[in-house]
Symmetry: C2
């Protein structure tokens, strides 16, 4: 083997220095692999190795513990908006969260993901609060136990068993909310560069969350009976994903329900490809009767269930859970302590009171009836505007519907925002950006006729453009 | 350039396959870099490149987007206990958290980091709770705003300005707790493989938290006036760290206070080496008079201040904050929404009530007096057992003290635990494991004579072994 010609090495070094000067490569960024650059510049790998070594000796780049070469200096701080494909800010996964949370109290929010305050059991919550204010207990002053409130974990274990998910309290870790539950599981299972599958369309915050984990996110087309299993088989071969994140019960944004056939096939595929699954059960309590759950079919072997009560009870009672194998619980608790030092014993205590006394169950009974009425009403009004539901959901809060005449939902949403109406444009939910004509409606937020008046105006404005 | 000899390539492939068979390399693990393996096996880099390429063609290993070669299959889930050096479980950074949180109510906990419930303003907290239960407000039902409670952010901005940290409410992001605040900042600023400096000794949970970020953690020796600036200069040259995490006001575990001289030198070094600093102000409210703060000297240019009220008010009121530049606040809020979907408006409301009405200020006044008495008492009793304080703290809750006669603090702590006494052995706080003879005492948890009786018994037991 001869040494590479020094003029070639020089030209590779020159190429890298030029890209640095142009800020095409920035401090902390990984340089192309030796093979990539060799192919790109049509030189041998040895030439690139020597060029990189010399640049490293000059302090321009640095080798990092067996993982390749990096531009010297520090990486710029993480911007979620810059990770993944660049998107129009109005269909950025974070846009809808911010709009919904920042909206003035006078805004109408058919696009937001939660129930209006008037639908929540305010009086029961106040009563639970007064009780905690009176009771001689430590939840007011002390940290919670590492796994979380033990009485509440027992209550939750019983509820999950009712849904067919066999689980003991030692398999439940409480968290501050459902998103934190998913985040902990991602930290536990994922490494930067791993591949993760999400539904397309699917809940936008899964995308935002996964960006923070620096993983590759790939979409699986979603059908009215669950993810497209044939497409998933292909993606499993292509990308060897580590994890699939999905909703159980009513799917967000489509309102679809998993069929037993799809559930069974999906789990067989998962086993064959060593795929783990996170099933977010946040909409489970809206069900009239239990739909198939992956966690029930699988027995928590490769499916991890997470959930919370922010949608059904109150966004302010911050309490979520993770249900998984006992040996994973131990390590998830370590991670939880390291990254948040435990959770609010206070919210757990309130929730426990409401579950124990049956107030939560009674609240759900009336909620489901109200939601069914609102669903009927909303479907009717949408059809009046020629907006077609993708399917008629059996329950839950969401309708996924297509605008008429090729209207662009992002344009309609921008026009509506000027009118204090917060909509949820389809592409916020679509990794492939293939839901341009779709909107997600929250039926509980659609009861004012002003919603549809505003929507109609926005559709007309978007038309004229 | 000739092709590498095929026998050499074969022998490299054989070497890798053997290590795989022996599970010395596990699924998902990064293979040695081309250069490393070439050196190790005394073959050319080209030989290793060809061996890796062939193993990848066989599906045994996989190239990952320009970052090197990995064992095919998935990485095992993260275990914080396995990241970093293997430690005796009783001096593992997570051990002390678990012990303190899991301890029975009858345990004595001089090693834990927080105040006993009887020291906290229980009646004021109950009053705030009743007020929220009565008031016609949304904190009971809705998500908080993205930045957090605006009235509370104004209150906090005023308090920080009093400490000499110039900050507007638009520079404050509320979080669920102080640990979450640090975790968000780490997510924002760090990449896996980055280097981070912590104090040695220093707060153990910084170590545990940083393990979750997969960064290299390096200790800076701590002196009675702050970090050892000369040692830090050397470490900055050697490791080019991105971040330094430390406490302001009273240092944990030593109770030391930063001198203006050290603060000034440290900031000059940080500027010269592009080092960012997180200053955790969680003990600030225990001060009688303000010690120098890096964030005050620096004006929040490269210092980020975080804090919370879990130590001074209640561990159950989950509310922390990040103070930094407005443009970083925006992106931190994105990250917060993506990973926890906002925080508890409820805890923020309680805290706001207590700050606004002056109850918090009055509570602090009495707390500081009580702590000063407990400090005097504890120092006296420790000396009776010949346990020598490293310095006499000017205030706060902690005393860092050395056991007599070369006793091993981990052994003493194990013996004490059998006696229902939770101690904090020094090496939990020491990255270099150089605090074998030290214990951290929480003076507020040391008022029962049983603490020192148990300690004396444990010291005797540890002796005889």
């Amino acid at each position: 083997m001869g040494r590479p010609k020094s003029t070639r090495v020089d030209s590779v070094m020159h190429h890298v220095r030029e890209r640095l000067a142009a800020r095409a490569l920035v401090p902390g960024e990984r340089l192309p692999s030796i093979r990539q650059l060799a192919e790109q510049l049509a030189v041998s790998k040895t030439t690139v190795v020597e060029a990189y070594d010399r640049l490293a000796a000059d302090g321009v780049i640095a080798a990092r513990r067996g993982s390749g070469f990096y531009v010297a200096g520090h990486a710029p701080p993480l911007s979620l908006a810059d990770v993944g494909p660049a998107l129009d800010r109005s269909i950025d996964p974070l846009w809808i969260s911010r709009q919904s949370l920042e909206a003035a109290d006078t805004s109408l929010k058919p696009g937001c993901g939660w129930l209006p305050p008037s639908w929540l059991p305010e009086e029961e919550l106040r009563r639970a609060l007064r009780q905690i204010a009176r009771a001689p207990q430590s939840s007011l002053l002390e940290y919670g136990r590492p796994y979380g409130h033990s009485g509440l974990r027992e209550q939750l274990a019983r509820r999950l068993a009712d849904y067919g998910v066999p689980v003991g309290p030692q398999q439940l870790v409480l968290t501050d909310n459902g998103t934190q539950a998913i985040d902990l599981v991602c930290r536990f299972l994922l490494e930067p560069g791993d591949c993760v599958l999400v539904d397309d369309p699917g809940y936008f915050n899964f995308q935002a969350l996964l960006r923070a984990h620096r993983v590759q996110v790939v979409g699986v087309p979603y059908t009215p009976t669950g993810p497209d299993v044939a497409a998933m088989a292909t993606l499993l071969d292509q990308h060897r994903p580590r994890l699939y994140i999905t909703n159980s019960a009513f799917h967000n944004p489509t309102g679809a329900v998993l069929s037993p056939l799809v559930a069974h096939r999906l789990l067989k595929l998962a086993e064959a490809h060593d795929l783990l699954i996170v099933e977010d059960d946040i909409f489970g309590d809206f069900e009239h009767e239990s739909a198939p759950r992956l966690s029930a079919f699988d027995g928590l072997e490769r499916v991890i269930q997470v959930g919370s009560f922010s949608k059904t009870l109150s966004a302010s009672v911050r309490c979520g859970y993770i249900a998984t194998k006992p040996e994973w619980c131990e390590r998830l608790v370590d991670l939880k302590l390291a990254t948040s030092f435990g959770n609010s014993p206070f919210s757990a205590e309130m929730l426990y009171e409401l579950l124990r006394k049956g107030s939560y169950r009674r609240h759900l009974d009336s909620l489901r009836g109200r939601l069914a009425d609102a669903m009927g009403e909303t479907l009717l009004r949408l059809r009046t505007l020629d907006i077609q539901p993708w399917l008629e959901p059996r329950g839950g809060v969401f309708v996924w519907a297509c605008l008429p005449g090729g209207l662009d939902a992002a344009e309609v949403s921008r026009a509506a925002l000027a009118d204090n109406l917060v909509l949820a444009p389809g592409n916020v939910f679509s990794l492939s950006q293939s839901a341009t004509g779709y909107l997600r409606f929250n039926v509980a937020q659609c009861l004012s006729p002003r919603v549809f008046e505003g929507l109609e105006r926005a559709m007309r404005k978007a038309c004229v453009r």
